[in-house]
């Protein structure tokens, strides 16, 4: 009487597997198309990053860091961080990781920015979307690996899909929030002078919202960096997989090196994108 009756059971796992298999077969062409498309981007970005001499990348961090923070010391520190990753012997792994982050963020923005704008313009869409976004943000990150693996197998490509979806909510939320909170009198001014909807959107709303939108882009980027590490679980090679190996083999030193490298990347990407956000915000709020 104390334990749950054993013969009471439902088995939906089998039917879900069946459904996904059927979907995968029926829409094989579409999945293959997506796969090819994403892989193409991934390879191009990775190819480009490998094509750059290492010191050019460091130079870019230095210059970018200076423009983002306006402080030489910070810029130098960022450069040293990336340099240290190289010294750890993780340069190539870092490039793999960066490529996945860049491509995922790119797709997130490609979907998230227009969606956020649509949400701001359409209250009904906003109501429905908000609950979905809430649900997305409460789910643990590795949950996103499941559908990615089901549809696209193992490797970098499903990693991009999972990362892209996981990192999507902040950019959507903040874009929508920023656009719907543009000063109402300023919008009235745009209308009163006879702007079309498109003119009001591109000449007033988006520029006025730019600072907050950039903050959303920054958050999305940071979530992508975090997710890429998780994605090593499905075989995406990069700094994350190094941590995973270290954990499995209890190699503390190796784990530390890889872990520090990830932290460095996170810091540099955070500061660079924050700098851009701040400068755009200054311009918009000025």
């Amino acid at each position: 009487m104390m334990s749950f009756p054993e013969n009471w059971s439902i088995d939906i796992a089998e039917s879900i597997d069946q459904a996904i298999r059927t979907l995968g077969i029926r829409y094989e062409a579409i999945f293959d198309g997506i796969k090819a498309f994403v892989s193409f981007f991934l390879n191009s970005v990775e190819g480009f990053l490998f094509f750059l001499p290492w010191w050019v990348l460091l130079l870019m961090v230095l210059v970018g860091g200076y423009f983002a923070t306006k402080r030489v010391l910070s810029a130098l520190m960022f450069t040293v961080m990336i340099f240290v990753i190289g010294l750890f012997g993780y340069w190539n792994l870092m490039i793999y990781t960066l490529a996945i982050v860049f491509v995922s963020v790119l797709f997130s923005l490609f979907i998230g920015l227009p969606y956020g704008i649509l949400m701001a313009e359409n209250p009904r869409l906003a109501r429905y979307s908000t609950s979905v976004l809430d649900a997305m943000q409460t789910m643990p990150s590795w949950v996103y690996l499941i559908p990615a693996v089901s549809f696209f197998g193992l490797g970098r490509m499903p990693a991009v899909m999972a990362t892209m979806i996981y990192a999507l909510p902040p950019v959507i939320r903040l874009t929508s929030h920023a656009i719907s909170n543009v000063d109402s009198e300023t919008l009235e001014a745009a209308r009163a002078f006879g702007s079309t909807k498109i003119q009001a959107l591109f000449q007033v709303k988006i520029p006025q919202a730019a600072g907050t939108i950039m903050a959303g882009i920054n958050q999305t980027t940071m979530m992508a960096v975090a997710m890429v590490v998780t994605c090593s679980m499905i075989g995406a090679k990069g700094l994350g997989s190094e941590v995973l190996i270290a954990i499995n083999r209890l190699e503390v030193g190796r784990g530390f090196e890889a872990g520090i490298s990830i932290v460095f990347i996170a810091i540099v990407m955070d500061r660079l994108s924050q700098g851009v956000a701040r400068s755009m915000d200054r311009k918009a709020k000025a």
Partner: protein
């Protein structure tokens, strides 16, 4: 004078079923009761007025009385729930979106309380915004924008960011932006209310100066009665979403429609608004030029005065005669024409009382009010004193 804007029974109700609420509304509705029972806000109810070409029409009322709602109906930022708005005789509520856009781009511009400038653009880009979006070429719109900046006294600030400007300068940009479109109608919603008093007075002066050259049709909103009376040719007073009185400042001061208006106008410096016309009286004693000094003396004695104005046959003012001079004339056998004081102080009927006060202080006699030389009336010192009180 041609009517530029004609507002006919315009109402604006905010809420989910505005039309139904409007139908059920009686003339003496209670705004807060409507709010409580139906969750609808009556923004404006049954507003009717006309604005003439080249006129400054001021709408005044306490905060929440519906001024902003009403002015936003004039360019359809708010679409009226009922009523018509005619501009140059055309009902703009029937306009297609495209035609409405053209109206806003060419005929009607707006200046906002909190400036509503585009903070991501420079001063020049802000001023040329209206021109840019209606598709004018960059060079032409920038040229025009520079002219406007010169006109509002901001030349040299073209490339400044908006954040570098003071409040008064920001509103000058707002004004320049509105004028750049060369609109016939200018809507100004509490345009000077966010400015501190000194800057505000400067801007009022500036507006009146610009208006002298430009002769736009201006609808100006304020909650400050001094401002309303200073710049308004006519003033509409709003209370609880309704217009309670429309008239010239002088009409409102002399004949307030109800207690509410009366309370509104207490504290107003009446001498700035009241003109001689409303305080002059018909002189009790007038002397014809052709009558002699003897008759003048008799006339003055009968009315119990010691001086009187002398007029000629077509009522033109000739001068002033005193009892003393008249007696002297009889003694020295002079005619009336030889003894009258021809240098009497004359003012026009539109002179304000405040301009009259220093003149009255210099003169020992009542002041003559004339129009093209014809005597219309006189102003006694007692009348002036009573307006000051």
């Amino acid at each position: 004078m041609a009517v530029k804007i004609s507002v006919q029974h315009v109402s604006k109700i905010f809420g989910s079923k505005p039309l139904k609420i409007l139908q059920d509304l009686t003339a003496h509705f209670d705004k807060s009761l409507v709010m409580k029972e139906t969750q609808h806000v009556v923004g404006v109810h049954d507003a009717t007025f006309e604005v003439n070409e080249g006129e400054i029409f001021v709408i005044i009322g306490l905060s929440g009385s519906g001024k902003s709602t009403l002015i936003r109906c004039l360019n359809l930022l708010h679409r009226p729930t009922g009523g018509e708005i005619l501009i140059d005789g055309q009902n703009i509520c029937d306009f297609s979106p495209k035609k409405l856009r053209e109206l806003r781009r060419h005929q009607i511009a707006m200046v906002f309380q909190n400036f509503a400038l585009l903070s991501h653009k420079s001063v020049l880009e802000n001023v040329s915004y209206g021109l840019t979006i209606r598709g004018e070429v960059k060079a032409a719109s920038q040229f025009k924008a520079r002219q406007m900046l010169l006109m509002v006294g901001l030349d040299g600030y073209e490339n400044e960011p908006i954040s570098a400007l003071s409040g008064g300068m920001k509103q000058r940009v707002g004004l320049a932006r509105a004028l750049a479109n060369d609109p016939e109608i200018l809507l100004m919603d509490e345009a000077f209310s966010a400015l501190d008093p000194i800057v505000r007075r400067e801007m009022q002066f500036e507006l009146l100066k610009l208006q002298q050259q430009l002769r736009k049709t201006i609808v100006f909103i304020t909650h400050d009665i001094q401002e309303a009376f200073k710049i308004g040719d006519r003033v509409a007073i709003m209370k609880d979403s309704k217009i309670v009185q429309i008239g010239s400042p002088e009409e409102i001061l002399t004949k307030p429609a109800d207690e509410y208006v009366e309370r509104f106008i207490t504290g107003v410096d009446r001498t700035q608004i009241l003109t001689v016309r409303s305080i002059m009286v018909v002189p009790s004693c007038l002397i014809q030029m052709r009558s002699g000094p003897n008759m003048a003396i008799q006339e003055m004695k009968r009315n119990g005065v010691s001086s009187a104005f002398v007029i000629d046959h077509d009522l033109k003012l000739s001068g002033l005669v005193t009892l003393q001079d008249a007696l002297k004339a009889i003694a020295e056998k002079l005619s009336l024409a030889e003894i009258i004081n021809r240098e009497v102080i004359q003012v026009e009927p539109s002179t304000t009382v405040s301009d009259l006060v220093p003149l009255a202080a210099q003169s020992a006699y009542p002041i003559a009010v004339t129009e093209e030389g014809r005597l219309l009336g006189i102003v006694t010192k007692v009348a002036i004193l009573s307006t000051l009180g």
